[in-house]
Amino acid sequence: MTVDIRKKEGVTILDIEGRIIGSDSLALKNIIDEQVAEAEEGEAKILLNLADVRMVDSSGLGIIVATYTAVQKKGGRIALLHPGGNIRSLIVMAKLVTIFDRYEDEDEAIASFHKSNN
C-alpha cells in the first residue's frame, strides 16, 4: 500500500494505492491520525481516494471506521471517493452506507466539504 497526500481547496486528499490488509491498516491509521492531528479544530476535512485500492480486509474497514469517529470528535468530516469492488460490499455488509458519504466525482466530493461547513 502506498499513500500520496495532496491538498485541494482546504481538503486533504489521500490517494491510496494497493491493498489495505493486515498491517497496512495500522500504517494507514498513523497517516490519517497525523493529518487529523495537524488540522485545526473543526477543520479536519479528509477525503480517502480509493480508486486504486484493489482489496480491503475487515481490519482495513475497521481503521476507516475508527478514523471516522476520530474525525467526528474533532468536528471534522471524512468522505470516500471511488469506493469500488470489495470495499463497497464490506460497507454494505457492515451496514455503514448511512455513515460514509461516497462520491464518484472528486470535484463534487470537495464541494460537499464546503457545503457541510456552512
Binding site: I21, G22, S58, G62, V65, M93
Partner: protein
C-alpha cells in the same frame, strides 16, 4: 535422536501408562514416583522435558518446580504439569512458578503427546513472546516480556474457559462450534445459551483489534449478552442494548461485529439479527440453494444511534445454517493474493450437506489449509454450524 522425558507421579499405574505410550511415540522415558527422586533424576539425566504431577505426598509438584527453577542445571528444562480438572487455581499457580504447560487428568494420550511436541518444538514460547517483542519495540526488556507473557497466558486460559466445551443437545438439530485462535488471546467467540425448554441463544462475534484489549471487549460482550438475553425477546433488542452499553464506554478503535440468533426447536425457526457481521449462510430447498442472512444493523460499539432489525426464517429438515467470522473468508492465498471468499464457502456448504455438524467444521478448516497452503492464520477462525435433521437419529 530421540528425546528423553522424565515422568514424575506417585501413581505407579499412571507412570506405566505414560511410559508405554510415550515409548510407542519414540521418546525415551524415565520415571520417578516421588518429588525427591524426580529432582535427582532431573539432575543426573538432564531430560529434555519433565511431566510433573502436582499432587504428590511429601514433596508436591510446586516444590519440585521451585527447586528445578532455582537450580542452574535444571532451570531450562521445560515442565508440563499433570493436574486434576478442577484445579484451575493450581494450574495458574503452576504456570506462574515456571511450568510451560499443563494437561488435565484424566488425559487423552494423544493430547499429552501433542502438548509434549508443542513444548519441545518451542511453539509456546514463540507464540507468546514474539508478538510481545514486536509490540514493545524500544521498550523491550526481558523481564517485561516475561511478565507480560505470564499475564497473557493467564488471560488466554480464562478466555478458553469461556468458549463452550461442547455443543448443546437440541432435539431435531445437530449443532457444532469451532474456534481457532490466531494469537494467545483472541477477539472471536461463540456461545450457546439455553433460554428455555425450546429456545437456544446462539452467538458468534468478532472483536476488531487484537490481543488483550480485544479479549477484554469480548468478555464484556459475552457477559452483557448472558445477563440480558432472557429479558430481551428479540435478537435485535439484545444487540441494541449491547451496542448502547459499549458505545458509551469504549474507545472508537474497539468495536465488534456479531450475529445473535434464537433457535426455536419446537417451532423449527431461527430468529436472528446481525450487527455488521459476515452474512450467515442458509442452505435450503433440499440443499440446492444458499441464502445470505442479511437482516440486522451496524457493527457494535461505535455508533450510539445504531438500530437493529430481526428476521425469522423457517428451518426445514436438511436445512443448514453456517455462521462464521471473517477469518474464514479472509484466509489468504499469498501466491496470488486471493481471499478464500464467500463463494467458495457457499460451495463447500452445498457439497458437504451430508456431513455431521462437527465434521463439517473440520472440513472447512481443512479447506482453508488446502486453499492457503499454510496453517498460519492472520485472524481467528470461528465457525458455528446448525443442521436441521429429520428428527431420526
Amino acid at each position: 535422536m530421540s528425546e528423553t522425558i522424565l515422568a514424575v507421579d506417585d501413581d505407579i499405574d499412571i507412570l506405566e501408562l505414560i511410559q508405554m505410550s510415550l515409548e510407542a511415540e519414540g521418546f525415551d522415558v524415565i520415571t520417578a514416583n516421588d518429588g525427591m527422586s524426580g529432582l535427582e533424576k532431573a539432575r543426573t539425566h538432564s531430560p529434555d522435558l519433565i511431566l510433573l504431577d502436582l499432587m504428590m505426598p511429601v514433596m508436591d509438584g510446586f516444590e519440585v518446580i521451585g527447586k528445578l527453577k532455582a537450580d542452574e542445571q535444571t532451570r531450562a528444562i521445560p515442565v508440563i504439569m499433570l493436574t486434576a480438572r478442577a484445579q484451575t487455581h493450581e494450574r495458574v499457580q503452576g504456570l506462574h512458578a515456571g511450568a510451560d504447560d499443563y494437561v488435565t487428568k484424566p488425559f487423552d494420550l494423544d493430547e499429552l503427546t501433542a502438548r509434549i511436541e508443542a513444548v519441545l518444538g518451542r511453539t509456546l514460547p514463540t507464540k507468546y513472546i514474539n508478538p510481545l517483542i514486536s509490540t514493545m519495540g524500544d521498550w523491550f526488556t526481558e523481564e517485561g516480556v516475561e511478565q507480560l507473557a505470564s499475564h497473557l497466558e493467564a488471560a488466554a486460559m480464562i478466555q478458553q474457559n469461556l468458549i463452550p466445551k461442547q455443543a448443546p443437545n437440541v432435539p431435531g438439530f445437530d449443532i457444532a462450534g469451532f474456534l481457532r485462535s490466531s494469537m494467545t488471546v483472541s477477539g472471536d467467540f461463540y456461545d450457546f445459551i439455553p433460554l428455555d425448554n425450546n429456545r437456544l441463544g446462539i452467538a458468534i462475534a468478532d472483536v476488531r483489534g487484537k490481543g488483550i484489549p480485544a479479549a477484554l471487549l469480548m468478555v464484556m460482550i459475552r457477559t452483557i449478552l448472558r445477563l440480558i438475553c432472557r429479558e430481551e425477546t428479540s435478537p435485535a433488542a439484545a444487540l441494541k442494548r449491547i451496542n448502547d452499553l459499549l458505545a458509551i464506554d469504549t474507545d472508537p478503535d474497539l468495536f465488534a461485529t456479531m450475529v445473535y440468533g434464537i433457535l426455536d426447536s419446537a417451532a423449527k425457526t431461527f430468529t436472528y439479527s446481525s450487527a455488521g457481521h459476515c452474512y450467515p449462510l442458509h442452505l435450503k430447498n433440499g440443499g440446492t440453494e444458499v441464502d445470505e442472512l442479511k437482516e440486522g444493523g451496524m457493527l457494535l460499539g461505535t455508533f450510539g444511534h445504531a438500530v437493529f432489525e430481526s428476521e425469522t426464517i423457517p428451518l426445514a429438515p436438511g436445512d443448514e445454517l453456517l455462521l462464521y467470522t471473517d477469518g474464514v473468508t479472509e484466509a489468504e492465498r499469498k501466491s496470488d493474493e486471493t481471499f478464500y471468499g464467500e463463494e467458495r464457502l457457499a460451495a463447500i456448504l452445498e457439497s458437504n450437506s451430508h456431513q455431521p455438524a462437527e465434521t463439517f467444521c473440520q472440513t472447512i478448516e481443512t479447506a482453508l489449509f488446502d486453499f492457503s497452503g499454510t496453517d498460519h492464520r492472520d485472524d481467528d477462525v470461528t465457525i458455528v454450524v446448525i443442521k436441521a435433521t429429520d428428527g431420526k437419529e
